[in-house]
């Protein structure tokens, strides 16, 4: 069968993939995206373009994705349900796929109170599961959420979703994945892994239910750049789990950035050994320049 995207092709052919995150700028400057893309070219199979992440206004993920396409690289356009209702979301799916976007990651989105416009009205007309289902039906059945038919070309897109093994209640997190698969998810990108033990327990459950055969799971890795960042991740960012020993290692390090890099390297190597993991998703917040060496040294680089 013809693949919708290079990411789908690589995963389907059994390659261990790499995806990396590119955060759009707080400006209308296309060079900011291009510079990051140039830095990361060849390091990953596809590049996540975030959608006003943490509810902070930035260039749209739609525009960012098109800028990535113009560099002949492959974007994964992130779409959240916070800022757009079902009319706007479906319209953007048509527009983005018309312009060549072939991967979409469906998210509910961080609440607006976390960002720089806390007075904004959150939309949340649909949630991530419903968005997956809506896009899947547009693609496979040629119908909009209302039941109306698309007239002409259907959106050709490889669909993804997020999973967080560190969210509570733990016992429901595997079922969330199953629901996302049922709703149309073909790949899953996980929350950044620091607690590998808990992640392995979650993956065991995922595999025992055979879900690893139905979806490609790509494990998240975010290198810690400083003690301050480790502190933020441990104590302030909801849904992340930085174990005490990782935090201590960062605190006691003479060069925290180097230590954070070593931790990330070790995490990647361990994740690669886990059954059911088909790739690594690297989010290097304000530290994109570290990605090329991280990819190379962890042995992730392969001909693409």
């Amino acid at each position: 069968m013809p693949y919708r995207s290079n990411l789908e092709k690589r995963l389907s052919e059994g390659h261990f993939v790499v995806t990396a995150e590119i955060g759009p700028p707080k400006s209308a400057d296309p060079l900011k995206i291009r510079d990051k893309a140039l830095l990361l070219e060849g390091c990953a199979d596809a590049f996540n373009v975030t959608d006003n992440q943490t509810a902070v206004v930035r260039m749209s993920s739609f525009a960012g994705s098109v800028l990535i396409l113009q560099m002949e690289m492959e974007p994964i356009m992130q779409m959240t349900c916070r800022d757009r209702n079902r009319i706007s979301l479906q319209s953007d799916v048509l527009g983005a796929t018309a312009l060549g976007v072939r991967n979409i990651l469906c998210l509910t989105g961080d609440h607006q109170s976390f960002g720089n416009h806390p007075a904004a009205k959150g939309v949340f007309d649909v949630d991530s599961l419903q968005l997956l289902q809506i896009i899947q039906k547009m693609r496979d059945e040629g119908i909009f959420q209302s039941g109306d038919s698309l007239l002409g070309i259907r959106p050709c897109v490889f669909l993804g979703a997020a999973a967080n093994p560190y969210a509570d209640p733990f016992e429901i997190q595997v079922d969330r994945v199953r629901k996302k698969i049922d709703a149309g998810a073909q790949f899953i990108q996980t929350q950044s892994v620091y607690n590998i033990e808990k992640f392995s327990a979650w993956m065991d459950d995922v595999c025992s239910q055979g879900l690893d055969k139905k979806v490609h799971i790509i494990a998240g890795v975010t290198p810690l750049k400083s003690v301050k960042m480790a502190e933020r991740m441990k104590f302030h960012v909801p849904g992340t789990d930085v174990p005490d020993f990782v935090y201590e290692r960062m605190k006691n390090a003479s060069d925290p950035a180097k230590e954070g890099y070593q931790i990330a390297l070790k995490t990647i190597r361990e994740l690669k050994q886990l059954k059911g993991i088909h790739g690594i998703h690297i989010t290097a917040l304000f530290w994109e320049e570290i990605i090329p060496s991280l990819v190379k040294e962890s042995g992730l680089q392969s001909p693409r």
Partner: protein, 212 residues
């Protein structure tokens, strides 16, 4: 007042699924709305009994959203509650949740749909007035609220769909902006509308609790 609408009996019968049921009504809003007062609770009891569904008992709470009163009144009905498998509540969504919190071991059935916070215009006619946005702007608009009554919540005048005092989305809806303008014109305060009203702080509509 909180305006509710009773779900249809067929749907309620399906939810009850022939299991013994205890009925709860509310002395305030649902009584005035004729959706969950004594009359409606007894009518539903009769409807269930003709379908051979056992009704273990019933009570009208005063009102259902008052947790302390509920605890006292439900204690008086402990025996009847025990005999039931399901509890059907004819109150607003607040009341139903208060009861669900007090009786976590029983299956709760919502007997009504909660529609809006409204005015009792006539004995059987209600109109939406407030959407509880958390930041009242009524003084800017002569006491008429565009946040709740304009379907687009427009703060800076009517949209292009206002026609002969009616709203574009439905001829049954009056254009609140038409009324605001007529009203302020009469009072000679129309000038007050010439300033641009800035985007609203919707975070104030997100308050989840309050303690005094």
């Amino acid at each position: 007042m909180i305006i509710t609408k009773q779900k249809n009996v067929e749907e309620l019968l399906r939810c009850v699924d022939s299991k013994p049921v205890f009925l709860i009504g509310c002395s305030q809003c649902a009584t005035i709305c004729h959706t969950g007062g004594k009359d409606e609770v007894i009518a539903l009891k009769k409807a269930f009994e003709t379908k051979k569904i056992p009704v273990s008992g019933w009570v009208i709470l005063e009102p259902a959203c008052h947790q302390m009163n509920d605890k006292r009144m439900l204690k008086d009905n402990a025996e009847e509650l025990k005999k039931s498998e399901k509890i059907l509540v004819l109150a607003c969504g607040n009341g139903i949740q208060t009861i669900a919190g007090l009786i976590p071991e029983k299956e709760i059935i919502a007997g009504t749909d909660t529609l809006f916070l409204g005015e009792i215009t006539h004995a059987s006619e209600f109109h939406k007035r407030c959407i509880m946005c958390g930041e009242c702007l009524l003084e800017l608009y002569g006491g008429l609220c565009p946040v709740s009554q304009c379907p687009k919540s427009m703060l800076n005048g009517p949209c292009g769909g206002s026609s002969h005092g009616k709203c574009e989305i439905n001829q049954q809806i009056e254009c609140i902006w038409d009324r605001i303008i007529q009203n302020m014109k009469k009072r000679g305060t129309l000038q007050a509308l010439s300033n641009i009203q800035q985007p609203k702080d919707w975070s104030k509509a997100g308050e989840m609790n309050r303690r005094i």
